[in-house]
Amino acid sequence: MTTEPTHQDPAARTVADVAPAELPDRVAALLAEHHRPALVAAHQDPDALRVVYLFTAASPDRRTELHVRLDPDDPVLPSLAALSFPVGRFEREMHDLYGIVPKDHPLPRRLVRHHHWPRGWYPMRADAGPPPAFGDPEGPYPFVSVEGRGVYEIPVGPVHAGLIEPGHFRFSVVGESILKLKARLWFVHKGVEKLFQGRVPADALELAERVSGDTSVGHALAFCLAVEEATGMRVPPEAQRMRAVLLELERLYNHVTDLGALCNDVAHSVLNAQFGRVREQLLRLNAEVTGHRLLRGGVVLGGAVLRTVPDAYRLKALGEDVAEIVDLALGHTVVADRFTGTAPLSTAAARDLGTLGYVARASGVDVDARRDHPFTDLGPTLTVPTCDTGDVLARFRIRAEEIAVSIALIGELADGMAPGRIGSWAPSKARDGLASGVGIVEGWRGTITHRVELAADGTLARVKIVDPSFFNWPALPVALNGAIVPDFPLVNKSFNLSYAGNDL
C-alpha cells in the first residue's frame, strides 16, 4: 500500500576522532550550535582507553560523537567542566569507575565511590576482577560544613522511613531555612553496565527493563533502539507505534502516582486515595496490554508485543477523572498554597544544569525527545507543555497536562491497531567490525539515552545508560535554596528522581 508509512531510520550520527588537546574547542563549537551533552562514556579498548562524547541537538535531529583516545598508562583528559556542568559530572563518574583523570576539574571530589572502596580499584576496567574486601581507605565524605550562629546540620538517610530508595541528605539549616543541601547518592551502585557486557542483546533486554523499576519501557526501548541501530535491524512502523503506546502508558501511571503522592505529602489523603484509584485502573490496563502491571515484556528487540490494544474510551474516562481530581487539588486553598512558589528552579539554572523532562519543562526549558529525537512521528497531537515558574505547582501542572497529551496520543496511535507480536524486518545493511548504536527515548522522567557497542561475535562489549535523573539530581539542592526543611519531602517528590537509574 502506498499510504503505509515506511521504516524510519534513526538520524545519522556523525563520528569524529579528536585528540585530547582539540577537545575543548570542538565541544565549545558544538555547544554554541545548541547541542547538549547527552552521554559521556569511557571504553577500554585493547590498546587504549577511549572516551565517547555524544552531543545531540534538536530540529533537525542531530547526533554528534567525539571519540578521544587516551594512553592507558596515563589517562588524562582536559576537563570540560567549565564549558558544561553535566559533562563535569560525567568526568567525575569516569574518574571513579575507570581512573581517567579530568585535568583541572574545578570539583575533583569523588562522585560514585564510597568510603569503603579500595583506592586505585576501578571496577569498570577489564582487569578489575571481583570486588575486593571492603575497607575504609577513602574515609568519610568531605562534606562542606556551613558555619555561623545557630547553623546546625540535619543528616537524613541513607535509610529512610517508608519504602523509598537510599540516599543521604545533609542539610545545613538555620532555624527552619535550608542554607545548603548536599545529596550523596550511589548507595545502590550495582555495576549494571558491567552486567551487560558479554551478553547477547536479546538476553540483556531483561536487564535493561530492570534498570529502574518504574521505567521499564523507557529503558528497554532505549536499549532496543540502540541495539537495532548497531545491528542495522529495521523495525516496522507499526511496531514503533506500539512502542509509543507503551511509552505513554508508562508515563500515565507514573504521573498519576506522582500527582497523588504530592497531595499526600501535604497530608491531603483523600486526593491521594482518588489518584490511587485511577492508578490501580491504569496498572490493570497495563496488565491487560502486556501481561505485566509495570509493562515488562511489551518492548522486544526489533518489535513489540501487545496482548490487547488499550481502549481509548476507557482511557479518556480516566483522563477526565484525573482532570477533575487535579481541579479539586488546585481548588483547595491550602494545597494550592503549599505548591505555589515552593522551591522555584529558575530557567537559567535549569538550562545550565542540563535538566530534562518535566523538571526542565516546568522551568521553561522546552525539551522533549519525542519531538526532538523521534523514533516514530507522533504528528500534531504531540504538544509539549511548558511553564516558567519552576515551582512545585509548575511541576504538578506539567504532569497533569502531559497526562492529557498522553491519552490523546494513545487514542490516535491505537486507532486501527491490532494486537499481536510484530517482529523486525531483515537488516538493511550488513554490519562490519565493531558496531555501535544510540537509543534516545523520552521516558516519563525525561530523556533516556543508551549507547551500545557490539563485539564482532554480536555480544555486547559496552553499554552506557544515562537516566534523566543523572542530569536532574543537582537541580534539587539548587531549587531548595532558601526553602524550609518541612517542605523538603514535598519538593523532593515534585522532582521524583530515580536512585536506581542514577546509581546504576
Binding site: Y152, E153, I154, P155, V156, H160, A161, G162, E176, C263, D265, V266, A267, H268, S269, V270, A273, R277, H332, V334, V335, D337, R338, I484, V485, P486, D487, F488, P489
Partner: protein, 323 residues
C-alpha cells in the same frame, strides 16, 4: 467550690481515670477508622491501637547511647500528667476529690509539663530530629498555652471562678450560656488549640513517615518498645482529656453533679456513657474534618494559632462587656 469529699465523687474520679486510660486508644482507633472509611480503605479496626500497644509492651526496652535520666523519665511524666489530668478534669463528675486542683491553670500547667518533659527528652537524644521536633513543639506550645488560658478564663468570668467543676456546674444550671458570644468565641479558639496541641492536621500529620515534616513524632523517634507504648498511650489520653474538656465545657449534659448519696452513684454510669459518646462524636468529627484538610505550611501555623488567640481575647472582652 465544694470542698467535702463524697463517695460518689471518689468513685466518679476513679471511674474517669479508668475510662480515659482504657478508652483513649479506642478513640484513636475510631478516628483512624473514620479516616480509613472516608478514604475508601477498609481500615485496621478500632482495636488496632491496643494491639500496637500490646506488641510494643512485649518488646525489650532500648535507650540510645548517651541519653540520661531525662530520656527515661519523660514517658512516665507524660503518662502521669495525663492520668492526673484525667482524674481532675470534670469528665464524669464535678465532685472529684481532687476538685481543689481542678483549676484551669493547674490543668493547663499539668498538660504543659508533659509536653516539656517530652521536649527535654528529645533534646537529650542529641539527634537532629529530636532537636528539630522539640523546637517546633515548643513554638506551638508557646502559642497554644495563652489561648487555652484565655478561652477558659473567658468562660470563668461569668461564673466568678477558675475552677473547672464550678464552670461546668454553672453551665448545667444556665444552659443558655452555651449560645452566648463568649462561649462561641471561646469554643472556636479552644477547638483550634486542641487540634494544635494534639498534633492533628492541619498543624501536624500523625500518620506521616516523613521525618522532616514531623512535630510531635520527631520528638519520639528514638523511643522503642514499652517506652514508646507509654508515649503513644499518654498521647491518646491527652487527646481524650482535651476533647473531653471541650465537650464538657460547652455541652456538660449527662455529667454527675452535686447530688448526694446513691443518686449520684447511680448517675455515674450514665455520665460515663454520655462522656464516651460525646468524645467519640467529637473525635469522629475531627477525623472526618481532617480528611478534607491539608497540612499548613509550617510558617502558616503561627498565623492560625495567633488567630485563635485573638478569638480567645475577644471572648474575654465579650465576657466583661456582655456580663
Amino acid at each position: 467550690m465544694s470542698g467535702s469529699t463524697t463517695l460518689a465523687g471518689t468513685v466518679g474520679a476513679a471511674a474517669q481515670v479508668v475510662l480515659v486510660a482504657a478508652g483513649s486508644p479506642l478513640l484513636v482507633g475510631v478516628m483512624r477508622q473514620v479516616r480509613a472509611r472516608l478514604e475508601g480503605r477498609a481500615g485496621a479496626g478500632v482495636l488496632q491501637p491496643w494491639r500496637d500497644l500490646r506488641k510494643l509492651l512485649r518488646k525489650e526496652a532500648i535507650t540510645p547511647h548517651g541519653t540520661g535520666p531525662v530520656f527515661r523519665a519523660a514517658p512516665l511524666v507524660l503518662a502521669a500528667t495525663a492520668l492526673v489530668a484525667a482524674g481532675v478534669v470534670p469528665i464524669a463528675t464535678t465532685e472529684s476529690p481532687l476538685d481543689g486542683a481542678a483549676d484551669l491553670f493547674a490543668v493547663t500547667a499539668l498538660l504543659a509539663l508533659g509536653t516539656v518533659a517530652l521536649a527535654l527528652a528529645a533534646l537529650d537524644t542529641a539527634t537532629a530530629f529530636g532537636g528539630m521536633g522539640a523546637s517546633r513543639e515548643m513554638t506551638v506550645l508557646a502559642l497554644v498555652e495563652p489561648t487555652i488560658l484565655m478561652s477558659v478564663f473567658a468562660l470563668s468570668v461569668p461564673v466568678g471562678s477558675t475552677n473547672l467543676g464550678a464552670i461546668v456546674n454553672s453551665t448545667l444550671h444556665e444552659p443558655q450560656r452555651v449560645v452566648s458570644p463568649v462561649s462561641l468565641l471561646a469554643a472556636v479558639a479552644l477547638a483550634v488549640v486542641v487540634i494544635a496541641e494534639t498534633g492533628r492536621i492541619p498543624v501536624d500529620n500523625p500518620a506521616t513517615h516523613l521525618e522532616l515534616t514531623m512535630i510531635h513524632e520527631a520528638m519520639v523517634l528514638e523511643y522503642a518498645g514499652p517506652d514508646l507504648a507509654l508515649v503513644e498511650w499518654a498521647s491518646a489520653m491527652r487527646l481524650t482529656v482535651l476533647l473531653g474538656l471541650v465537650a464538657n465545657l460547652f455541652a456538660p449534659w449527662g455529667i454527675a453533679g452535686a447530688d448526694s448519696g446513691w443518686v449520684a452513684l447511680a448517675a455515674l454510669p450514665l455520665a460515663l456513657a454520655a462522656f464516651a459518646a460525646k468524645v467519640t462524636l467529637l473525635g469522629g468529627a475531627l477525623a472526618a474534618g481532617e480528611v478534607f484538610m491539608a497540612k499548613l505550611r509550617m510558617f502558616r501555623v503561627p498565623e492560625l494559632l495567633a488567630g485563635s488567640f485573638v478569638l480567645a481575647l475577644l471572648a474575654v472582652a465579650a465576657s466583661f462587656f456582655l456580663a
